[in-house]
């Protein structure tokens, strides 16, 4: 079944177009990796999927489980099962991590017509998820991301993902800045959640993460669109050769697309 279908997506910020006609289809059960050089629009794609208002979609469509995603407010997208692991997780002072997650989970459950989970059941549920990402108990009770180290913040994102149990998870450079041990923990978190009911889009700059999370499909993104798609071996190829060839090809394509009169 098709989980996400993006067609000819054009989006940008303050008049500058960043996504320039992106197509992507993710089926349930699949793990897609999107790789590309800095500035290719990977994070913009993640933000547009989550519904950040700063980005304006000027053309194209995003269909999520048959629905027009662009019509939905960001919190509704989350309640419908889309999760974004932030590249730069945000601090929420004064609100404990566990309290925050309980409020979030209950907002999602309410949306789905489920009963709110009570504090005791929630704590038991959370404990089981903590083990997967090796979260220290202390981080549960600290304000969300406040005073967390870089690695703790990233692990916390995966922890949020575990607790909120999304249908489509988008990980935006979750691997950047992680040491190998933290990287393994993040990968284990993702692998433990792989299922035929769920899809993943893993955005990364490096091939390294894909040693631990083996993707079904690898895309190369350059200049705001997907320029090549292949299997997991494509990642290794990129690692060896870099993005140079793709970048030059994209430049040529962009030039060719320009009207001759300029």
């Amino acid at each position: 079944m098709c989980l996400l279908k993006i067609e000819n997506l054009h989006a940008g910020v303050e008049g500058t177009e960043i996504l320039t006609g992106l197509d992507l289809t993710v089926k349930v059960g699949e793990v897609h990796a999107i790789m590309g050089p800095n500035g290719s629009g990977k994070s913009t794609l993640a933000q547009v999927l989550a519904g950040r208002a700063d980005y304006e979609v000027t053309a194209g469509s995003i269909t999520y489980r048959g629905e027009d995603l662009l019509e939905l407010a960001p919190e509704i997208r989350a309640r419908e099962g889309i999760f974004l692991a932030f590249q730069y997780p945000v601090e929420i002072p004064g609100v404990s991590n566990v309290y925050f997650l309980k409020a979030a989970l209950n907002a999602i459950r309410k949306h789905r017509g489920q009963e709110e989970i009570d504090a005791m059941d929630f704590l038991a549920y959370v404990k089981s998820k903590m083990e997967i990402v090796k979260m220290e108990e202390e981080l549960l009770h600290r304000p969300v991301n406040e005073g967390f180290s870089g690695g703790e913040k990233k692990r916390n994102e995966i922890f949020h993902m575990e607790v909120l149990d999304p249908t489509l998870a988008v990980l935006d450079e979750t691997d950047s800045g992680l040491d190998i041990d933290a990287l393994k923990i993040v990968a284990e978190g993702v692998n433990s959640m792989r299922s035929p009911e769920r899809g993943f889009i893993i955005i990364t700059h490096y091939q390294r993460l894909l040693n631990f999370i083996v993707p079904d499909v690898v895309h190369v993104m350059v200049g705001g669109r997907i320029v090549e798609t292949g299997g997991k071996e494509l990642a290794l190829e990129l690692e060896a050769k870099g993005y140079g060839g793709h970048t030059r090809a994209a430049e040529a394509a962009a030039e060719a697309a320009m009207p001759a009169s300029g």
Binding site: R52, P74, P93, G94, A107, I108
Partner: protein, 484 residues
């Protein structure tokens, strides 16, 4: 297209003030203006003894020599004290209500609308209410039950007539009639307020509560509250305030005095929700210029101020404690919200005089819209105050990018054994946080409520339970639409 944080903030800020209705009752008012005649008129209306009139006149004459202070971090057009009405009262037959049946049903309806259950059967168990409507106190409930315990809880005008020895002894003992410009004005023209006396060793059997309501137009409200806690007594007191929406500014210059004897404990909580003015233009709203001070006169006594300030165009108040008795404790817990065009300059003074005195200050300022929020606090340790300790924490939260937070802590330590701690922080609820919350399924309102309540929880836990709920709700309502 989803709304941006700023758009959501604007929506929240534009929320309607829900207590802005006007009650249509017959009013007896003086023409605008202030002179000795007005002071005499008020005193005569209240049937006051000669000494009380003299006290007022002395204050009035002193007031004439004072200048309105302009050091707070707020701006407003000049106040014309001659354009204001100093006496407005609901017209009624006889000397005053003998029971709830004598009260104008319109006023009762007003208090019901405000959620203040004057009718005893509907009341929150254990809360006695004194209600002040414009200049006069309209009803005090549970008087009989309190009297059994020896507690006096009545309008101050009644106390002046019936308990002159107590009023004479304590009135002005903590806030002298010439203390400052607004306190002097209040001393001259105060028309009512609450009086509380807790005898030695008595634990007041219920929460005491006063609701203040300004109704009449162009009227100043000058209430005066006096709380006396004898040796080893205990009382918790709460005041709430609302006013109708009006285009002109109205002045509220109240005075609260608390006198705590040995081992006495007084907890004073305020939920202030005066009309803040039009959120879009800043027009109208209450000028809340208030002097509140308590003295821990006896050893081991304790005074605790908790305030949730969400209303008023301008708030200017510094509930303070003079820690005179050895081992006495002063506390100040404050949440101040400014949105729209509101300005607040608020904080506390803790004056350590006695030995081993302790004070705690927790101040939480929230600014949204174009609101300006200033914390101003003074901690003074006098020469003989050996072993004094203070802990201060001043946190500011900014919602949106057009508001401001300012902190002015003054610390004056004259004794080297003092221990002082000061913590301060400023945080901002921005689009990043709102979007992060949204990405987890929380809408703007949920997110704001979560963040703001998290920010204020140390103060809310100091409020009596049912009022903590009320304060949370008030905060949610007043910031509704402020953010996402």
């Amino acid at each position: 297209m989803p709304l941006s944080g700023t758009e959501i903030i604007d929506q929240e800020v534009a929320q309607e003030y829900k207590w802005g209705f006007v009650t249509d009752i017959e009013q007896e008012t003086l023409p605008p203006g202030l002179d000795e005649g007005v002071v005499r008129f008020i005193s005569a209306k209240k049937d006051e003894p000669e000494w009380m009139l003299e006290w007022r006149l002395k204050a009035y004459r002193h007031w004439l020599t004072l200048e309105e202070p302009h050091w707070p971090n707020v701006t407003y057009p000049e106040i014309d004290y001659q354009a204001m009405i100093y006496w407005a009262a609901p017209k009624k037959a006889g000397d005053g209500p003998q029971s709830l049946d004598d009260i104008d049903p319109e006023i009762l309806a007003t208090y019901n609308k405000l959620g203040i259950p004057l009718e005893e059967q509907k009341m929150l168990a254990g809360v006695a209410v004194d209600a002040v409507f414009d200049s006069v106190s309209v009803a005090t409930t549970f008087k009989d039950r309190l009297a059994e315990a020896g507690v006096i809880f009545c309008p101050i005008s009644e106390a002046i007539r019936e308990h002159p020895e107590l009023v004479k002894k304590y009135l002005g003992s903590v806030v002298p009639s010439g203390d400052n410009f607004f306190a002097a004005l209040n001393a001259a023209v105060f028309s009512d307020g609450s009086f509380v006396y807790i005898p030695a060793g008595v634990r007041c059997p219920m929460e005491l509560s006063t609701y203040f309501r300004i109704n009449a137009q162009n009227t100043g409200q000058f209430e005066r509250t006096l709380i006396i806690a004898e040796k080893g007594s205990h009382v918790s007191y709460l005041e709430g305030c609302t006013a109708p929406k009006r285009d002109e500014n109205q002045l509220h210059a109240a005075v609260v005095e608390i006198y705590a004897h040995e081992d006495a404990e007084v907890k004073y909580s305020t939920v202030q929700n005066w009309y803040p003015g039009d959120p879009k233009t800043g027009k109208g709203g209450i000028y809340n210029f208030v002097t509140k001070r308590g003295i821990c006169a006896g050893a081991r006594s304790k005074i605790s101020w908790t305030q949730v300030e969400t209303g008023s165009a301008i708030t200017w108040k510094y509930p303070s404690v003079i820690l005179k008795g050895d081992d006495s404790t002063g506390e100040f817990y404050s949440v101040a919200v400014t949105k729209g065009f509101q300005q607040a300059d608020t904080g506390t003074k803790m004056i350590h005089v006695g030995k081993n005195t302790r004070s705690t200050i927790i101040s939480k300022g929230i600014s949204a819209g174009r609101g300006q929020n200033t914390y101003r606090g003074q901690v003074k340790i006098l020469k003989n105050a050996d072993g004094a300790r203070n802990f201060s924490q001043c946190d500011s939260m900014l919602i949106g990018d057009r508001c401001g937070a300012h902190t002015f802590p003054y610390i004056d330590v004259q004794n080297t054994t003092a221990q002082m701690e000061h913590e301060a922080s400023t945080s901002k609820i921005g689009e990043d946080q709102l979007f992060y919350c949204a990405s987890r399924g929380l809408d703007a309102e949920d997110a704001l409520s979560l963040i703001v309540n998290g920010f204020c929880k140390e103060v809310f836990k100091e409020l009596p339970m049912e009022f903590a709920v009320e304060a949370r709700r008030l905060l949610e309502v007043s910031l509704e639409g402020s953010v996402g």
